[in-house]
Amino acid sequence: MGASGLILRKCMYLFLLLIAVLVPQVVTSRYILQILIICYIFAVATSSLNLLLGYTGQVSLAHAGFFAIGAYGVAIMTTRSGLNFWWALLLAAAVSALVGFLVGIPMLRTRGSYFAIASLCFGVIVGIVAGSWSSFTGGYLGILGVPLPPPLNLPGMGALGFQSKAAQYYLALALLLLTLFVMHRLVNSPLGLSFMAVRNNELLAGAVGINTFAVKLLSFTVASFFAGLAGGLYASFMRTVSPEVASIHLMFNWVVYLLLGGAGTLAGPVVGTLAITALTEVTQSFKDYSLLVFGALLVVAMIYCPRGLVGAWEAMQRRLGTPLKRFRQVGVRDAKG
């Protein structure tokens, strides 16, 4: 990509960020803010799924399980142990990552569909445990009264409370930005390239000295961490958790967001989550049909457009833009810059 293209791209991102920051100033509807908050949280979950499915090529269906571990972790630690929310959130995400690491060791020895099934089994087990271990998880009723994040003391801004929807919106946005920042740095690095190498050709990846198992385990652990983080914030904002957070339907929704948005692209999960939620909300009568349509669209996307909306957009840009000129002019300077 040329330098001007890069600047253009940066400007676009800044513009989008500005819009995202201004939303609560313009939108006063608590309902819309609530939807956006959930969108951002789900976009975090979908982005972390993207690291595994999109970049490392491992179709993990355990993700709702890790989301649930994060959610229950925060709920249990804050309501039972009275732990400060922020510590609980961090701990819950760490537990989620640890569980991911531990179950990843046996599960990542399997490949392809077998891994998909094994990981789905893990996700379902988490759901069953959440529903059945009443003394610990509150059973099917779940846990009520999860506290909101306590006020944050920021230097120069005083105490920042999270009672208002706008404040919650900013917190969700911050989490999403943090996630995207980490994903961006991962993906644009030799480490990220090794993830993609595993996705592309595991045999060759091994032959050039990549410990493919370790790479997959790292990807799985990092993805579990962010899924747990998303789950923890979700529990706090919803003020309650129930086994619903581990449901495979939630998981399948994320798969749809990811694949329609664009797996293996940074923007894909965010675009997918926002676009599909917006579509479902805007056409209220469409809500009943949404799963029907998205199920069908998922099949269509797999056939015609496996890189989703973002992939299609990029392909269109390439076709309309300057296809080969870009490559021909590439020199050392560009490669190093």
Partner: protein, 253 residues
């Protein structure tokens, strides 16, 4: 440099490789030839850790490498290419080389996220190394091109480049010119020749006799998993057993 001792591999009842021993000395080009199905690729798979030997041992600079995984063997300094051209076709040309050089770096997750000084330094080194390799294989112009736009011959060169980017002591090339036209073959020959000039130790499986005669310092001939001859190209080409093996087979390998 690379020493193979009594290497044996059984696939069920089939003895694909049977007590094969040979040595590749530092800086020489050793050709591995033999009819199709002789077990040449299997020997490479055994050396590179893709397959576990039934018996025998492989030594690199005197250190045994038996039982190691492919990524560990690569780290020790043995790089290989595959018979069917394999590169990361979802990545750009430069990225193919950067990822292949990753085994010589030590930055981890935290370095990557924080972009620490070490990460930056290593990335610079990797890039420099990648550009060096690109220059060597003649693909500098296409550094940022996706692999899809490369020709078949360019892909073969990139495959060799990917192996080189791992910083190997020994290079194993499995039929680097298979499926190429005459003039394209010359390009790959030239590449191997300059590798030799730079002192790289190369083991190459090759069917084109002219290249074997011109390039190889020594030749090892396999037939039905056995080593039937070893020596200079002239010696081998006069060897009775070799002539029989080639005349007896349906094809001249």
């Amino acid at each position: 440099m690379l020493r193979v001792e009594g290497l044996t591999k059984k696939f069920g009842g089939l003895l694909a490789v049977n007590k094969v021993s040979f040595t590749a000395h530092k800086g020489e080009v050793l050709a591995l030839i033999g009819p199709n199905g002789a077990g040449k690729t299997t020997v490479f798979n055994l050396i590179s850790g893709a397959l576990r030997p039934t018996a025998g041992q492989v030594y690199l600079e005197g250190k045994p490498i038996g039982g190691k995984k492919p990524y560990q063997v690569a780290k020790m300094g043995i790089a290989r290419t595959f018979q069917t051209t394999t590169v990361f076709d979802q990545l750009k040309v430069l990225d193919n080389l950067l990822v292949a050089h990753k085994l010589r770096t030590s930055s981890g997750l935290v370095d990557t996220i924080l972009r620490t000084r070490r990460w930056k330094k290593e990335l610079e080194e990797s890039r420099a190394r990648a550009m060096e390799v690109l220059d060597f294989i003649g693909l500098k112009e296409k550094a940022l091109a996706p692999v899809q736009v490369l020709t078949q011959e360019e892909r073969k060169r990139l495959a060799i480049g990917v192996a080189l980017a791992t910083g190997p002591k020994v290079l194993l090339l499995d039929e680097p010119t298979a499926g190429l036209l005459q003039e394209e073959t010359e390009g790959i020959f030239g590449l191997i020749k300059s590798l030799k000039q730079r002192g790289m130790t190369v083991c190459v499986i090759e069917h084109k006799m002219r290249m074997v005669m011109n390039l190889a310092d020594r030749v090892v001939v396999l037939n039905y998993g056995h080593k039937i001859a070893e020596g200079t190209p002239e010696e081998v080409s006069r060897n009775e057993l070799v002539i029989q093996a080639y005349l007896g087979g349906e094809h001249v390998a």
